[in-house]
């Protein structure tokens, strides 16, 4: 037994049971996938409908004729020019995600690895910031950004991201703590600087979680409409999520097919990012294998 490679032993011993388990897993995963994919499929279906098919009861899942013109109609109106919104969103999301990755991993490292005075108290404070409902902070924060002269720019949206955010700090700290401390300590003994250790030793080990943070942060900022809604005024500064929200709230007789066309388009970058991160996740497995040592 010990002589065979782990992989062969895995299947040799488990063949029947494993096969049943695999079939079961496929069935379950497919069924669940159908349930979870439904909203997106519904969005795609609706985005290609003729308006006459929108209110149909029971709902129509496959339009008779695919109405591709819904897309340009939704996205390229002079009063609602999405290419500009995509550009704004890309800048906002890019700067925010970068800021969060850098600041949160530094802060999380500090909390996970350095036994400094007040660390426990400050960490409790980090967690506590997640607990105050954002609705009541809205007006004081707004006045602060007004005093700083930042309104109608990306600054109130982006700058705070460069100072970390509790959720990702917590997530990264939890992950750092699962990595054996001996790694740091050995490096410290070898004379490495803390920043070196963080950069050269820990970060490479943290690839999966960094990619997770990247993906989560990307999605959060991409979909965030409330912040941009409050802080941005001009049409030229608008981001995709706000434009969608405005679109959705703008008329009683909502052109749902066009709204869905815009929604589908807005979701595509997120899906692409996510698929890309999936591949990185798989690569990440081999990386995490290293810590067994």
């Amino acid at each position: 037994m010990a002589a065979t490679t782990p992989t062969t032993s895995f299947f040799a011993r488990q063949s029947t049971q494993a096969r049943v388990a695999r079939v079961g897993a496929y069935a379950a995963v497919t069924l669940l996938a159908m349930l979870y994919a439904a909203p997106f499929l519904w969005m795609v279906a609706t985005s290609l409908k003729d308006p006459s098919e929108l209110d149909a009861v029971p709902p129509i899942w496959i339009p008779k004729v695919l109405q591709w013109q819904n897309y340009p109609n939704a996205l390229l109106r002079p009063t609602r020019y999405f290419p500009l919104f995509f550009e704004n969103t890309a800048i906002y999301v890019g700067l925010s995600v970068l800021g969060q990755l850098i600041s949160c991993s530094l802060v999380a490292y500090g909390f996970a690895r350095i036994p400094f005075k007040g660390s426990k108290f400050l960490f409790t404070l980090v967690l506590s910031t997640m607990m105050l409902p954002p609705q009541v902070l809205l007006i004081p924060q707004y006045l602060l950004f007004k005093q700083l002269g930042w309104l109608d720019s990306l600054l109130p949206l982006v700058v705070p991201q460069w100072f970390g955010s509790a959720f990702y700090i917590f997530l990264l700290r939890q992950f750092f703590m699962t990595i054996p401390r001996e790694l740091d300590e050995a490096a410290l003994v070898d004379g490495a600087h803390r920043l070196d250790i963080f950069w050269r030793i820990l970060l490479p080990l943290c690839r999966p979680i960094l990619i997770t943070v990247f993906a989560l942060s990307f999605v959060t900022h991409w979909n965030d409409f409330f912040g941009p809604l409050i802080y941005l005024n001009s049409q030229k500064n608008m981001v995709v999520a706000t434009a969608l929200r405005l679109f959705a709230m703008s008329q009683q007789a909502l052109p749902i097919h066009e709204l869905m066309a815009a929604s589908v388009t807005s979701v595509i970058p997120v899906i692409v990012v996510f698929l890309f991160c999936q591949r990185a996740f798989v690569r990440g497995i081999t990386m995490t294998g290293m810590k067994e040592g």
């Binding site: 960490f123 409790t124 506590s128 004081p140 007004k146 405005l246 008329q251 007789a253």
Partner: protein
């Protein structure tokens, strides 16, 4: 023990620690000279109703001595139609370029905004109007943050369900003198909703009216062999006629109703008010400034509506709407699932977009209670104001004056963007581009009768929610009507808020009809 995890030791005595720490952090912030936001907000509001405007806050009924009562009713020299011409208040054309931010949630205006700013540019070449559309559902928090900070648009639509708070707080520019200088007589030239002239001061410029009528599915009427309100009844019909039509239109298959005779959003007091008025009562008092939902007429109106919904089963309930189309915002009438729909003129320009050629529709007047008791339709409005902190008060006012001028209101009327509040444009609305629809249902059959507006106050939206919740319980058979109305009345009156105004309104509701002679002169009759 260098490997001690934080998690293992956190949690003891941290409640106190956290509280102290938070205070400490604040102290630190203050010590660092950081601009703590609360103190900056507070001074602006330290004195009750401290007014950032130049006009003194009177806090009482008496208007400032310089202010002409009732919006300068005395100065009716110039008809509103000519107000788009540059007047005394209009600055010279050789000024530095100005970008005027105009904030609105009023989406149908999107179609007319470009024309509006082009027209405006002819008179004010140096002003560029930059519209800022805010989703209606998010308008309140956004306005709340920005008005306090003084960063709201230079001109703005109001949120008429909460706006009184801002009017009372002095956040509106007093337009009384400007309106007077231009010789505009608001009460004479416009159909006013109540917020425009507040305690004698002009705080809003009128914009639209949104009268309700009965939209009906002409195709369904024909198919069911029901008398058509226009073709057969010549626009003169009663509640009884409507009930009979609704009964015949309703279609039941296998015990399930597949088509309802009538859609009338009974849980909104803004929509059930016409029935209350017709029955001789009122749900609020414009003189005592409180809700009066315990008025017997309110109960009578709901006994009627309840019977329609639960016994006759031709009125679609919220529950039935949910069963039929789901709660996703599909309007049953537009989806071809109800025969009639009590709804505002707002839908006129949207109906064709949605319904297309699915069925033929038209609009009928609100029916009379009986041959001797005319119907009393409800209307509403969304006026615009100039925030007190704008840098361009003259230009902002000129822009709002333009939006309410005959020139633009005629444009809006021709395109059915909204029912103009400017009386001079009424004729255009009911005659231009009607495509055979009886749009006089929203003009002639509203203003030639007694008609009402909403009970505007700072707690209107909140009171509306409280009332809706109670009414819903009745139609779910979870509460008795009398109990629900009593509780609704109590809650609504806790929320009612006029910001210290003693008697802000210059009229009571329902308002009397516009005199026949005037309607004839306007070409409406």
């Amino acid at each position: 023990m260098s490997a001690t995890s934080n998690v293992r030791t956190i949690g003891r005595r941290r409640v106190i620690g956290l509280a102290l720490g938070t205070i400490g952090a604040g102290a630190l912030l203050a010590a660092c000279g950081g601009s703590a936001p609360a103190p900056t907000a507070a001074p602006a509001a330290t004195k009750p109703a401290a007014a950032p405007t130049t006009a003194p806050a009177t806090g009482g009924a008496a208007a400032a001595p310089t202010t002409a009562p009732a919006g300068g009713a005395a100065a009716a020299t110039k008809p509103a139609g000519t107000t788009n011409a540059p007047s005394a208040a209009a600055p010279a054309t050789s000024k530095a370029p100005v970008t005027l931010r105009f904030t609105t949630w009023w989406a149908p205006l999107e179609r007319g905004l470009k024309d509006a700013s082009d027209q405006f540019k002819a008179d004010f070449p140096y002003v560029t109007v930059a519209p800022e559309m805010v989703p209606s559902a998010d308008f309140v928090p956004k306005q709340e943050a920005a008005l306090v900070a003084g960063t709201w648009g230079d001109a703005s639509i109001s949120d008429n369900g909460t706006q009184v708070k801002w009017m009372a707080g002095g956040y509106h520019l007093d337009l009384t003198d400007k309106v007077k200088a231009d010789g505009i007589n608001l009460p004479q030239d416009y159909s006013l909703m109540g917020l425009e002239i507040w305690e004698g001061k002009v705080l809003h410029m009128p914009f639209d009216n949104d009268p309700r009528a009965i939209y009906y599915n002409k195709t369904a009427f024909k198919a069911a062999g029901v008398k058509d309100p226009w073709d057969d009844l010549k626009g003169k019909w009663t509640i009884n006629d409507m009930v009979e039509a609704a009964k015949q239109l309703t279609n039941v298959q296998n015990g399930k109703t597949t088509f309802y005779g009538l859609q009338w959003n009974y849980n909104s007091y803004q929509e059930f008010s016409p029935l209350v008025w017709m029955l001789g009562g009122n749900y609020a008092s414009w003189t005592e400034l409180k809700y009066t939902l315990t008025d017997p007429a309110v109960a009578k109106a709901h006994q009627m509506l309840y019977k329609w919904a639960k016994e006759d089963k031709f009125l679609i309930t919220v529950e039935a709407t949910n069963e039929l189309v789901g709660p996703g915002g599909v309007i049953p009438f537009r989806a071809g699932l109800t025969g009639m729909y009590h709804r505002a003129a707002y839908d006129v320009q949207l109906m064709d977009d949605v319904i297309k050629d699915k069925f033929e529709w038209d609009a009928a007047p609100l029916p009379d209670l009986d041959a001797n008791t005319p119907g009393i339709p409800v209307t509403s409005g969304n006026p615009n104001y100039v925030p007190a902190k704008t840098r361009y008060p003259d230009e902002a006012y000129a822009w709002l004056r333009h939006l309410s001028s005959t020139k633009f209101q005629d444009f809006a009327a021709t395109n059915h963007l909204y029912v103009p509040s400017n009386k001079k444009s009424w004729k255009t609305y009911q005659t231009a581009n009607t495509k055979g629809k009886h749009l006089e249902s929203f003009i002639r059959h509203v203003y030639s009768r007694r008609h009402g507006f909403h009970f505007y106050n700072a707690g209107m939206n909140a009171a509306g929610t409280a009332i809706r919740d109670q009414i819903d319980l009745v139609y779910l058979d979870k509460k008795k009507l009398e109990d629900a109305l009593r509780d609704a009345n109590q809650k609504a009156n806790e929320l009612v808020n006029f910001g210290g105004a003693k008697q802000p309104f210059s009229f009571t509701v329902p308002k009397p009809p516009v005199p026949t002679a005037e309607l004839q002169a306007l070409g409406v009759l």
